[in-house]
């Protein structure tokens, strides 16, 4: 058990593992991502109401899911840093913040592009869009705070506290479509109930979600390595 957890505690062990698995994870991520996108864009049927424009879900949905999941990931690392002072945690939080910021931006952008043909507007101050926009600002705020202190330890601890407190907004984003009457549709896929999306569209979507997840994980490996080296050199 200790050997399994070692890469999570020791920076050196983590870097060794990181270098070893990175090419495989990257390959797997690109493979599944492209597979999902190709099947979704070329072979999935046309939507009866939205036509071809619905196909942006193969980018938008994975990005929207991971924009929130990455925040949870960051919060867990923040908790572990504040409680157990795990040395690698600040690098993981920072890497996740960079990727989370990018992913949330892509979720907002793809949502806006989808909004033009379906809603007739690229932006609406509705609950889901606004709360996701706030999530984007939170990522930016975390990066700003982390870069504002010369003392690395102070910066790390303050960043971890903010990330942890910020978790309060994630359930609000998730439930925003249920709590308010919004333009944004409620979730079409769920782990607990039957999904309202046809299987021929759902399968490529699931492959895309898995593919984007693995690809983002590989990106996380790369960024975390860069963050660790940069912090060590500082």
């Amino acid at each position: 058990m200790k050997n399994l957890l070692l890469p999570l505690i020791s920076v050196k062990e983590y870097l060794n593992l990181n270098k070893m698995i990175y090419p495989y994870v990257l390959f797997l991520g690109i493979f599944f991502m492209l597979l999902g996108w190709i099947v979704g864009l070329l072979f999935a049927p046309i939507d009866a109401v939205q036509g071809h424009s619905y196909r942006i879900i193969y980018l938008h949905v994975p990005m929207a899911i991971y924009s929130q999941l990455i925040y949870w990931f960051m919060a867990i690392w923040s908790f572990s840093f504040l409680i157990w002072k795990i040395k690698i945690a600040p690098s993981m939080i920072l890497s996740a913040a960079y990727i989370g910021c990018m992913v949330t931006f892509l979720a907002l952008l793809s949502g806006s592009v989808w909004g033009i043909p379906t809603w007739g507007t690229w932006w609406q101050w509705d609950a889901r869009i606004t709360s996701t926009f706030i999530l984007f600002i939170m990522y930016l705020a975390l990066l700003t705070v982390n870069n504002s202190f010369q003392n690395t330890n102070t910066a790390d601890q303050i960043t971890a506290w903010i990330a942890l407190v910020g978790v309060i907004n994630i359930p609000i984003i998730k439930k925003s479509v249920d709590w308010w009457s919004t333009l944004h549709q409620p979730a079409s896929i769920s782990l607990t109930t039957e999904s309202s999306i046809d299987l021929s569209m759902l399968i490529p979507l699931l492959i895309s979600i898995i593919g984007v997840g693995i690809f983002l994980f590989s990106l996380g490996l790369k960024v975390s390595r860069w963050v660790i080296y940069r912090r060590e050199s500082d």
Partner: protein, 212 residues
Amino acid sequence: MITELFKLFQRTRDWLGPILIFTMIMIAFPLSLNIYSADLISSFESVLVISLLMIAFISCDGIFNEDFLDGSFEMLISEGGSLFQAVFEKLCASFVLISFPIALAGLLFSIANGAINQNYMIALLGIFFVNIILNSIFAFGSAISLNKGAILGVISVLPFSMPAIILFGRFLDSISSNISSINLLQLLGGTSIITFLIFSWLCSRIIKLHIE
């Protein structure tokens, strides 16, 4: 607590300034509209929420600066005193001298603009509770940005105020529609106590970090 209250009372600008700014916004905003009562009522809630946010930011900006810069906090830690208690008392003093008068002014302007017709006591408490929540959150921002300027604190904690704004919006809606809002008031009250305690503790942790 009494000492903190007295110290804040002596710094007139720190407590009277936010109250005056709030009053001026409340007086000035109808001038930007056509003077039809329907316009005033429909836009009043938004103006009230934004004003409360702004005032919470102004009143908490630099709340810990003086004690941090003159070494009071450092001395308190070296003497084994409780930083949490110091922060707690400081925030309590600001609630008494800033938040409560603002809640009172907010209620008076709500009545004057026709946004609230009854349940005055519930409205007063609701505005006071949301003030406590916002002040606690912005005090956390102020603790983060000690020596770094107010902007850093605001951008890092402003997203946390979102749940409070949502809750307060619902509360104002129910009050103005004369729907029973006692449950929402209880929720606001409970949230304000929890937020106040948690953020006081967080502020003390962050200030300690700065000192170390």
